[in-house]
């Protein structure tokens, strides 16, 4: 097929006289000089500057092994299947995060009943290989290593309908903010005592010894201590007859 012939239109340069040209040049020089002294750009000179992000920023995840109760909730909830529970020498299972899969939704952080997973504001870590992107439990305990070049924190502010940059000469705090961990208070309770087969698996799995079992006159009595129960849900998961449930405190 022959290509269609289109008419080319040449745009003429505007016909300016000498005065207009000189005026234009002077205008440009003045603007450039003004911007050099009082710049009003809103772009950030990353990585020398860094934007101040809110406390609930979903960055890379840090892990507190002392708080983890090995309940697997993080790996269950992960929509990207990025969390692997790996066996540790102490017989428990702790999470590892595959950052090739992680979508930074922080469902794991939100779901953790003990707040063992922590948010950081770090989002810019470079990896040299795919293997490196798999963060083992040990690597998760320390905040991820990164090269910092920044010395300024940038805050945006709206002033008279205009976006204004505010520069603060300090090094941004990127580490964890455990105080923003809010998980709803839950309590384990027996919803269907007539389903219970008295297997004591709840008592055996409870990490905080909140469930006590007594045998009196041919009857096995179970009792949950609300003071000790942390609402981790391990007993609910273990119960073979779906007897237990988590209730709001």
């Amino acid at each position: 097929m022959r290509s269609r012939i289109t008419r080319r239109v040449r745009i003429k340069t505007p016909d300016l006289n000498l005065v207009d040209r000189v005026k234009g040049h002077i205008d440009a020089i003045v603007t450039a000089a003004f911007q050099a002294i009082f710049p009003d750009r809103i772009t950030i000179q990353y990585p020398r500057e860094r934007r101040d992000v809110p406390d609930n920023f979903r960055g890379m995840i840090q892990f507190d092994i002392n708080k983890c109760i090995s309940c697997f909730q993080c790996s269950f909830v992960c929509p990207a299947n990025a969390i692997m529970m790996r066996g540790a020498p102490d017989g428990r299972y702790y999470p590892c995060i595959d950052y090739t899969r992680c979508i930074f939704c922080h469902f794991c952080v939100d779901t953790c009943p003990r707040g063992a997973l922590l948010r950081t504001k770090i989002h810019d870590v470079a990896f040299s290989s795919m293997e490196e992107m798999f963060a083992t439990t040990e690597e998760l305990i320390e905040p991820p290593e990164m090269l910092r070049e920044d010395d300024t924190v940038i805050r945006y502010r709206i002033e008279n309908g205009d976006l204004v940059l505010e520069k603060i000469e300090e090094i941004a705090e990127l580490s964890t903010r455990p105080e923003i961990q809010v998980s709803p208070a839950k309590l384990s309770a027996c919803a269907h005592p007539e389903n219970c087969i008295a297997c004591t698996l709840c008592y055996l799995t409870c990490p905080s010894n909140a469930i006590s079992v007594k045998v009196v006159e041919g009857k096995r009595t179970f009792e949950i201590d609300p003071k000790l129960c942390t609402g981790c849900g391990l007993c609910v998961k273990e119960c073979p007859t779906c007897t237990l449930t988590l209730i709001e405190r």
Partner: protein, 347 residues
């Protein structure tokens, strides 16, 4: 929450016949080792640590001394614990002879028909069937749709123990409407006992179909026995027991048969003390005895089964024939006679 929740509750424990022994040990001594275990696998179903194993060998719990959590659930659900044999025809609303127009089965295809109709009615959303592999080894199939019931291997009697009740646990905790179970009379008793102990089972097991049964076999013993007779089960298409004869039908249409009396040595000891032929505790019992070839006898015992039979009648899914309750009754009495309990002592 709408339902009441408890922070303190209690569960009655079964009597500990032997002091200082874990419950499974007691079950082992008084039921399994004393030879009255029927291999219904109800204990394996309830075991919270899933330690009790069934399959093609006697019920066991490897390493029970260490792993048993001593809950006593196995004893509470065991139909042979404090065993009082069930016998007779049991109560029934009606007795029918029928043949399915939709499904082919061992005889009239009525078990398949009842389950399919119950699924269509929405009474149940899943059922547990026993299929088989090439060597006639039973394989459990979770049936979730009527289409699945048209499979070649799902139909027909296998005459081998299958872990139906073990699989029931997963079905009961995953069902939305209800579960249908098909089993020999001992399995039916097991399910009924489970329903007494765990409420979830009484809520979710909606339909229990009992099969007429004199005895069942361990698959390895049955296939070895038949191999000795020169029968290659891989080529068989149907096994049947009719008028005291064990019949194997092959792909090419030929048949071999011999007397069931020859089986005596491989009959499991648990079957030798069982007197329940018709599955008296079931919702509906089905078997070939009492009707002509190609028809099944159906004993409708409960309201739910009646409802399903009425639906089948309305939809005109089956052809009816006149059953002979007297013939069933004869076999019911015969089973009591050949399986005395307590067993007669041999000199």
């Amino acid at each position: 929450m709408a339902e009441a929740c408890y922070l303190c509750w209690e569960v009655e424990l079964p009597e500990r016949r032997k002091k200082g022994m874990k419950y499974f040990g007691i079950l082992k001594e008084f039921v399994i080792d004393s030879g009255i275990c029927s291999h219904c696998t109800t204990c394996a179903n309830i075991c919270p640590v899933r330690g009790i194993t069934a399959g093609d060998k006697p019920i066991d719990f490897p390493n029970w001394i260490e792993l048993c959590v001593d809950c006593g659930a196995c004893i509470r659900v065991c139909p042979r614990w404090n065993y009082v044999p069930l016998k007779g025809m049991g109560d029934y609303i009606e007795i029918l002879g029928a043949k399915s127009k939709r499904f082919r089965g061992q005889d009239g295809g009525l078990v398949t028909e009842i389950i399919a109709s119950a699924m269509e009615m929405g009474e149940i959303d899943r059922a547990i069937f026993v299929g088989r592999d090439d060597e006639w080894k039973p394989v459990i199939i979770h049936v979730k749709s009527v289409e699945q019931l048209e499979g070649e291997r799902i139909r027909g009697t296998k005459y081998s123990f299958a872990d139906v009740i073990v699989e029931l646990r997963d079905a009961v905790f995953h069902t939305e409407k209800g579960v249908g179970v098909i089993g020999t009379p001992c399995m039916v008793s097991g399910v009924r006992k489970l329903q007494k102990v765990v409420k979830r089972y009484s809520e979710n097991v909606k339909l229990v179909v009992g099969l007429f049964c004199t005895e069942n076999f361990y698959h390895h013993q049955l296939s070895e026995f038949l191999a000795e007779k020169g029968i290659d089960l891989t080529k068989a298409v149907k096994t049947d027991i009719k008028k005291g004869k064990f019949i194997v039908e092959f792909e090419d249409g030929s048949k071999t048969s011999f007397s069931v009396k020859e089986f005596d040595e491989i009959i499991p000891s648990g079957c030798k003390v069982c007197q329940d032929f018709s599955g008296v505790e079931s919702d509906v019992s089905v078997g070939s005895v009492g009707t002509p070839d190609g028809y099944s006898t159906v004993m409708v015992r409960t309201e739910i089964a009646k409802k399903i039979m009425d639906y089948i009648r309305k939809k005109d899914y089956v052809e009816f024939t006149e059953p002979k309750p007297a013939v069933v009754e004869k076999l019911v009495k015969y089973k009591v006679k050949i399986h005395p309990y307590p067993p007669e002592k041999k000199e």
